[in-house]
Amino acid sequence: MKLLRMKPGHGEILVAEGDVEIQEEEERLIEAFRKELDAGMWAAVPSERRDGRREAELVKSFAEVPRDAERVIFFPRAAGGAQGSAGTRTAR
């Protein structure tokens, strides 16, 4: 399993990687997971359904991450944007 984090000016970075079946590695993953959540990140697990459709799930703890997930992607939590920018309308 890979823990990735989106980062301005960089794209995603690898936060941690390990096998959840190996206790030591799982502990390292859990610690890294907590650290990202404490830093205010949201964690999403992208997945593919049997019919081929792609989905994503937001998780709040490592226990919610499916054991067979390949990746968890951290990204900054959503905030309402551009509340007072009425004059910034764009047209192509």
Partner: protein
């Protein structure tokens, strides 16, 4: 006597405060604005010192595009690559998350999410939402374009209601020109016809 004088003094103070309050609040707001502006200027200087590196930004965007591509369906990726935005079917109405849903969203990088009715092309709302990285690793809190799109896509797919609640909702036209959105919807219809998509008939009247 003393009691009367004391009461009069208190009343006088309260009256004076009531008279002075608008000015005091204005002054407070001005000072706060000034401090904010100074802080922003300091941050900008810091950013300038770090330096905008177009090569780094391009590499970041390239990585972000690869990540986006690996997470969404191939057809959605082609849509984003060809048109510059992503359509996500609404998940709260009839035929949720599928072609023919009662509403859908257009996701633009670093622009509000636009909700519309696929069957008519009518624009519903703009949802202004951002994913600012407060750690500002290279002096900017702004994710690469494709990361911003992926963050919106994942948040919509995973918890649409939560994302919409976090966003600032506006009527169409607040930030994105409705004409631009209509042109994009028409481009989307043409694109779906040309590529044989399942949603081609859903927004045919928007073209």
């Amino acid at each position: 006597m003393l009691l009367g004088l004391g009461t009069a003094a208190i009343v006088l103070v309260v009256l004076l405060w009531e008279l002075a309050r608008p000015d005091a609040l204005c002054a407070y707001a001005a000072v706060r604005e000034r401090v904010r502006s100074l802080l922003e200027r300091a941050r900008s200087r810091e950013t300038a010192q770090l330096g905008y590196d177009p090569g780094r930004e391009r590499r970041a965007e390239q990585r972000a595009r690869e990540l986006l591509r690996s997470c969404i369906e191939e057809r959605d990726w082609a849509m984003y690559r060809d048109l510059g935005f992503l359509r996500v079917w609404g998940g709260l109405g009839e035929r949720a998350h599928a072609a023919g849903a009662s509403y859908a969203y257009l996701i633009y990088p670093h622009r509000p999410i636009v909700a519309y009715v696929p069957q008519t092309g009518a624009l519903l709302n703009e949802y202004c939402v951002a994913f600012p990285d407060r750690s500002r690793p290279y002096g900017s809190a702004r994710l690469p374009d494709s990361d911003d799109v992926l963050a919106k896509w994942m948040a919509l797919k995973a918890d649409e209601r939560r994302l919409i609640e976090q966003a600032n909702m506006h009527l169409p036209g607040r930030q994105i020109d409705p004409e631009r959105v209509r042109r994009d919807l028409a481009r989307l219809v043409r694109w779906e016809r040309e590529t044989g998509g399942d949603g081609a008939t859903d927004i045919v009247r928007a073209a």
